[in-house]
């Protein structure tokens, strides 16, 4: 800044443009050089190690892992080193050099992130829009055909209906149970252990959880010994065993239970922190005012953590929109349990129709957009 002002001359705009362009050029050169250097080194090292060492799959994997990480670090190191060599913070031009280096360095730090984000998240959004107007292979233009097809597709309607059910039930139930668990565990000595155990399903994959719950829902014909817990309980009370996952409509809820089971711990942890953050004085004031424990909970505590409840709710909502593994592993969308994410996967891999699959993906995206906008607004409020 100071430098450009000092040389304010008629040609300031022209020279400003030139200097901006040269800054961008140097940035790109340094980034590319850093990246190239680290990749070349990593590949060379890999070849060398592989030539020396005996062929072993496990060892190979370990070396690839190591070199992958090393190459990544190598980029930052070498790009930074190069920049310091280009514009040394010494000598006669120190001021100019520093100004330039300081203009470039943030981009070196951000470079990989911007490239990866752009390639893996931004580009696909636009590409999906384009693909949704194309046929199965993404080659031929079909106009709005995919959208028209979607509008009258019964399976899509079923998926939408189920997704909406999921969107209503899962966040509500998980938040509710989470709130109850948080409120209760905070009052007892072994609350932390209880919390750990309720929180634990968070660590289990959706597929793993599906296996676990499929075992609970296991069905044997009437008269045989039931090894699924649910049917065992039902028969113990004199009911008839059911193949739960095939019961129309209600089977959706049996799938939702899995996600509720996983997410309750998340809700509990967040809400418990929020509950503990409530100023103790407000509770003590309510105690002195003669409120019962239940009144304190519903009239003093819950209203003070509405914000956090909303955050938990939206977080789970986003997750629900993307739910896929559970349905795929437990019913694969049969018996009326299809959801959007799995339906999209179906068209992608079984239907091999990239156009239709992209269109379904866009529907999921559109459902997320309001949350996205809300998030961005919240953060902009935060960051001055």
């Amino acid at each position: 800044m100071a430098v450009t002002q000092a040389t304010a001359a008629p040609s300031a705009i022209g020279s400003g443009l030139v200097s901006a362009l040269s800054t961008i050029a140097v940035t790109l050169v340094v980034m590319a050089a850093g990246l190239a250097a680290s990749i070349v080194l990593a590949v060379l090292a890999y070849a060398l190690i592989m030539a020396i060492l005996p062929d072993s799959k496990l060892l190979g994997a370990v070396i690839v892992m190591f070199l992958g990480v090393a190459a990544c670090f190598g980029y930052f190191w070498s790009a930074n080193k190069l920049l310091d060599t280009f514009y040394p913070a010494r000598g006669a031009n120190i001021a100019a050099n520093l100004t330039k280096a300081n203009a470039i360095r943030p981009w070196l730090f951000l470079g990989p992130a911007i490239i990866v984000l752009g390639l893996y998240l931004v580009y696909p959004v636009f590409n999906s829009v384009v693909l949704s107007f194309h046929g199965p292979t993404g080659q031929e233009w079909v106009g709005t055909y995919n959208y028209r097809w979607l509008a009258q597709d019964p399976a899509f309607r079923e998926s939408m209906r189920n997704n909406i059910l999921w969107l209503i039930v899962v966040p509500a139930a998980a938040t509710f149970f989470g709130l109850i668990a948080a409120a209760l565990t905070d009052r007892i000595a072994w609350g932390n252990i209880a919390k750990s155990l309720i929180f634990m399903p968070m660590a289990i994959s959706f597929v793993g959880a599906s296996v676990i719950w499929k075992f609970i829902y296991d069905y044997r014909p009437e008269g045989a010994e039931q090894i699924g817990l649910l049917n065992a309980i039902v028969t113990a009370f004199g009911g008839a065993p059911q193949a739960w996952l095939t019961v129309p409509f209600w089977n959706n809820f049996f799938l939702m239970v899995v996600l509720i089971w996983i997410q309750t711990g998340f809700a509990m942890v967040i809400l418990s922190a929020a509950l503990r953050g409530i100023p103790e004085e407000t509770i003590e004031a309510a105690v002195i005012d003669g409120a019962s424990p239940f009144q304190i909970f519903y009239k003093i505590k819950v209203p003070q953590i509405w914000g956090t409840i909303a955050v938990v709710w939206t977080t789970i909502t986003i997750l629900v929109l993307k739910v896929f593994d559970i349905v795929l592993a437990m019913t694969n969308g049969q018996w009326g349990t299809q959801v959007l994410a799995n339906y999209m996967f179906d068209w992608m891999f079984r239907g091999l129709d990239f156009g239709r699959a992209s269109t379904i993906a866009l529907v999921i995206m559109i459902m997320v957009v309001p949350i996205m906008i809300w998030n961005i607004r919240e953060v902009r409020k935060d960051v001055r």
Partner: protein
């Protein structure tokens, strides 16, 4: 929390019991899988896992020795043997017809219409007598109810790890997970530092973009990336999936780390600058060590996410023996071995054991990360 003066004990008990109930409901499903994975594969299918700690009643059909082995004794033809055929067990009842398998107490003698007598002892020894020399090739059927002691075994693990391919999948998952956890941390930490402590045009816009990308559904990215990968030629490769996981994990990583790094005291960073540290030095020597809690939080997130991921692995890695990850293998087993609960439960447990260990060991950081990532405007 303090209970204060006049807390009601009944309420306290109700709280304890409710929590106990919640904990039971939340842990029982996992416990079922864990217990089943150690059970004998024949027992899994005949009795619920919750009965496995007690001896189980089991109906077995034993076939006595063939008639030609009968020996004459005191004018009768006698066949002796043991229903367990070399094994051991306790007979709680026996019968001679399938309709009434529990008709007789062990030690008593059953008489059939044609004058045979059958005695089965507690230890399984049987004696069958015939008035005349029996004929036929096949032995008498004996319906025995036994009390099996609880039997636990590691056999399922042996099967699953070495012949069902879970071992290989375990290594594959590890190969995917470690770099897919470390690389985004490195990239995100640099970006988060730049977004927190360096001045450049477009900073606010970039941050807003990152927040927006937080919620972009993965499904959006699959097809475009698959096409791109196939075009470039890194489809079905580990590099491809590392980068994919890096991309998908990056918004959260940058967001979490930026929140943390921006909260570090400004004066410490200025002090380092006065001490002559460059941005690169500051990052390595001050920011990285001080951000350890945030780095750990994200590392756990990403580790759990990648380890547990099915979708990205299915799309970007092959379905072959060499590349199938645990979740993929588990899903395949659910399809092909749907009824073999000994294999399913054991595989499931192998798949979830590492994340569960990580979870319990590093729960503190996970919670911290969750709080940092979620409690916004709360």
């Amino acid at each position: 929390m303090s209970t204060g003066v006049g807390a009601r004990p009944a309420l306290t008990w109700a709280v304890h019991l409710s929590v106990l109930f919640l904990v039971a409901v939340w842990t029982t499903p996992t416990l079922g899988i864990l217990v089943s994975s150690f059970r004998d594969k024949d027992q899994i299918v005949v009795s619920g896992w919750w009965t496995s700690f007690f001896p189980t009643e089991q109906n077995i059909v034993a076939r006595a020795a063939p008639p030609e082995e009968a020996v004459e004794q005191d004018g009768q033809w006698v066949i002796t043997g043991n229903v367990f055929e070399g094994g051991s067990g306790t007979v709680s009842a026996f019968g001679t017809s399938i309709q009434r398998p529990k008709e007789f107490e062990p030690g008593t003698t059953a008489e059939t219409r044609d004058g045979q007598t059958i005695t089965v002892q507690k230890n399984g020894d049987y004696v069958i007598t015939y008035p005349e020399q029996p004929e036929g090739r096949r032995g008498e059927r004996l319906f025995v109810t036994t009390l099996e002691p609880p039997k636990f075994t590691l056999a399922n693990y042996n099967t699953v790890l070495f012949s069902e391919g879970i071992g290989q999948s375990f290594i594959n998952t590890l190969t995917v997970t470690i770099p897919a956890t470390v690389i985004p941390i490195l990239i995100a930490a640099y970006a988060a530092y730049a977004l927190s402590w360096m001045r450049f045009p477009g900073r606010a816009l970039l941050l807003a973009t990152v927040v927006g990308l937080l919620v972009v559904p993965l499904q959006m990215a699959l097809i475009p990336l698959l096409r791109l990968y196939n075009g470039v030629g890194i489809g079905k490769s580990f590099i491809g999936i590392w980068l994919a996981h890096t991309g998908f994990g990056l918004p959260l990583a940058i967001y979490l780390l930026r929140n943390y790094i921006a909260g570090l005291p400004r004066e410490i960073i200025e002090s380092a600058r006065v001490d002559g540290a460059t941005d690169f030095d500051i990052f390595r020597k001050i920011i990285l060590p001080l951000s350890f809690p945030a780095l750990a939080s994200f590392a756990i997130f990403q580790f759990l996410w990648v380890w547990n991921d099915l979708l990205v692995a299915t799309v970007f890695l092959g379905n072959n023996e060499e590349q199938l990850v645990l979740t993929g293998r588990l899903r395949e087993l659910l399809g092909s071995r749907g009824g073999n609960w000994e294999i399913l439960s054991t595989s499931a447990f192998v798949a979830i054991v590492v994340p569960i260990i990580v979870f319990f060991a590093l729960q503190r950081y996970l919670v911290r990360g969750l709080l940092a990532g979620s409690v916004k405007g709360g």
